[in-house]
């Protein structure tokens, strides 16, 4: 059963009296509990698609159905993590997580919400920095807090827009492992839509990878590896299946590049 249904989605905006089409007639079904990575060149519309799912942008035409309800705007059944600065600078790490919980789970008492905030901050390894303000935290730590907030909200769907894109390789690996283990361990797996332009990251994390060309989904492929994967990173990276998948994706990336070159030469 799919939790996200997108039918004939088109998104365009007006730029200098001309309509620029970012997404055209896009169709997509995402199953409950699926971990989907969307990848592609910058400008292919992957972030726009995510912002539509988050409710920040409204489709120009087409229909988006989330968990049976037509999409009308933001909602706390979807938790979002941006590439950076998702936290409110005037709240400590603890208050940021607490604020998210209070918005999404109004039935909880304050003391319960506070307890929950601590539990999730501990899960992401932030127990020592709970009362620090975002400016006192490194980029990686800020993303940990943002992930803690998103998970603590207990939303059915997690939307992540290049959440590790601004981190160095070491932090990136740490957080990939953290995300996978938290996603894997939860009772009732959350549906994840994860935008990235890092092929390795997409293969390691996703059940399913969508490759986008400007405006549409060009390729839709399943990733066969068993979980947990990030802990067996080296084994997976050296396997044949990984290389095949990676070559396929790399070809898609470079085919695009070649097409662009031809276009430029034709001009």
């Amino acid at each position: 059963m799919s939790i996200i249904d997108i039918f004939h989605l088109t998104f365009s905006y007006k730029n200098n009296n001309r309509y620029e089409t970012v997404l055209s007639d896009l169709n997509l079904q995402i199953k409950e509990g699926e971990f989907v990575c969307i990848t592609g060149h910058s400008g292919c519309g992957k972030s726009t698609l995510l912002n539509i799912l988050a409710g920040l942008l409204l489709p120009s035409s087409g229909r988006v159905v989330i968990d049976g309800n037509p999409l009308t705007g933001p909602g706390t059944e979807r938790a979002v993590v941006f590439q950076h600065d998702s936290l409110f600078p005037w709240m400590t790490a603890r208050k940021n997580v607490l604020f998210g919980i209070q918005q999404a789970r109004r039935e909880l008492k304050k003391s319960e919400a506070e307890e929950l905030a601590e539990v999730y901050l501990k899960k992401v390894g932030m127990e020592k920095a709970m009362d620090k303000y975002p400016y006192q935290l490194s980029g990686g730590m800020q993303q940990r807090v943002a992930i803690a907030r998103a998970l603590a909200m207990d939303s059915k769907i997690l939307l992540l827009d290049e959440p590790f894109g601004a981190l160095d390789a070491k932090r990136r690996k740490e957080l990939q492992q953290l995300l996978e283990s938290l996603w894997d361990s939860g009772n009732g797996k959350k549906t994840v839509v994860f935008v990235t332009h890092d092929i390795e990251e997409a293969i390691l994390l996703a059940d399913r990878i969508l490759f986008m060309r400007p405006g549409r989904i060009e390729a839709d492929m399943m990733v066969p590896f068993s979980r947990p994967r990030t802990r067996n990173r080296e084994k997976i990276l050296s396997s044949m299946e990984y290389k095949l998948l990676k070559n396929k994706l790399t070809d898609l990336f470079y085919l695009d590049f070649d097409l662009e070159l031809e276009e430029n030469e034709a001009l």
Binding site: G55, L56, P74, F82, L87, F88, P89, F99, Q103, Y135
Partner: protein, 302 residues
């Protein structure tokens, strides 16, 4: 740090010269110089304290002192010592400082009366400005109505309507309070509307994806977001309010710093007038210093 620069010594030579001069009887007979001497000691102590405690460039500090001592020296020489100035229009420094020593109770009451009005004005002006500016800035329909209105009303200088308000209101104090509230309200209101509309997109998106209500948006997101700019704007606000306050007090008060100055101007007692002017300067400086402390103590998140 080299506090004992050439400037440091020049400043102290000038100070020594001033202290010697005030103890020599000049052309003009003046009041007891003790108060002036005490004033010099207080200034010197503040200077030394700043030199020891602050990491501000000690050279500039000493240079400022050279200028200050030179002005006081010039004042002392031209009045008390050589009696070159108009005897009524330019009082001697001994007499001005003597006012502080003898009329401190009257002056203090004046300051208190002014500060009471200022506090009421600033609290209500900022309170209304922020309290109304946030919803008006956030809710498009309200913004479309009130932003143009604020744009028209904000640039009207309070000096223009202050005399009319004083005539209109039943008591003088209520009139001055309204003048100060309006002086602060309109610019605060307008700048809050603008600030809310230029909120960082990232912060706005983060709040929107949490699906916050208008009430939560205003109280938990927009309010903390604008507070730093309100506090940093407080310095300008305080200065303009003191300006409007003393102006209003000159229009018809029976107490306060402005009243003190205008009252003695009517009696051509310029000794007290100059003392009052210096007092206003001191009060504004202390207020700015307090705002600085508030700024450091309240904003912990950047």
């Amino acid at each position: 740090m080299r506090p004992f620069s050439k400037s440091f010594f020049i400043a102290h030579i000038l100070m020594a010269a001033l202290i010697i001069l005030i103890h020599i009887p000049g052309q003009k007979s003046v009041e007891d110089p003790k108060a002036f001497f005490a004033g010099i000691v207080v200034i010197e102590l503040i200077y030394l304290y700043q030199l020891v405690r602050k990491r501000k460039s000690p050279l500039a500090l000493s240079d400022i002192m050279i200028i200050l001592w030179s002005i006081l020296l010039l004042w002392e020489i031209s009045t008390t010592q050589l009696n070159l100035m108009h005897p009524v229009l330019v009082p001697s420094p001994e007499n001005v400082f003597h006012v502080f020593a003898t009329q401190y109770d009257v002056l203090l009451l004046g300051v208190l009366s002014s500060m009471e009005l200022l506090l009421v004005g600033v609290l209500f002006g900022i309170g209304f400005g922020v309290g109304l500016g946030l919803p008006v800035g956030w809710i498009p329909r309200l913004r479309d109505i009130f932003y143009p209105i604020a744009n028209v009303l904000t640039p009207i200088p309070p000096v223009v309507f202050a005399p009319y308000l004083i005539a209109l209101m039943p008591t003088f104090r209520s009139a001055s309070a309204v003048v100060i509230i309006l002086t602060i309200f309109w610019p605060t209101f307008l700048s809050i509307i603008i600030r809310v509309n230029s909120i960082e997109p990232r912060i706005l998106d983060s709040a929107r994806v949490l699906n916050v209500s208008n009430r939560t948006m205003i109280r938990k997101i927009l309010l903390p977001y604008v507070i730093p700019s309100v506090i940093s704007g407080l310095k300008v606000t305080i200065t303009t309010s003191v300006m409007m306050l003393t102006f209003a007090e000159m229009m018809g008060a029976t107490s306060g710093m402005g009243f003190y100055i205008i009252n003695y101007t009517h009696y051509a007692n310029y000794t007290n007038v100059v003392a009052g002017i210096i007092l206003v300067g001191i009060v504004v400086t202390v207020l700015n210093w307090l705002v600085n402390i508030i700024q450091i103590k309240t904003i912990k998140w950047h």
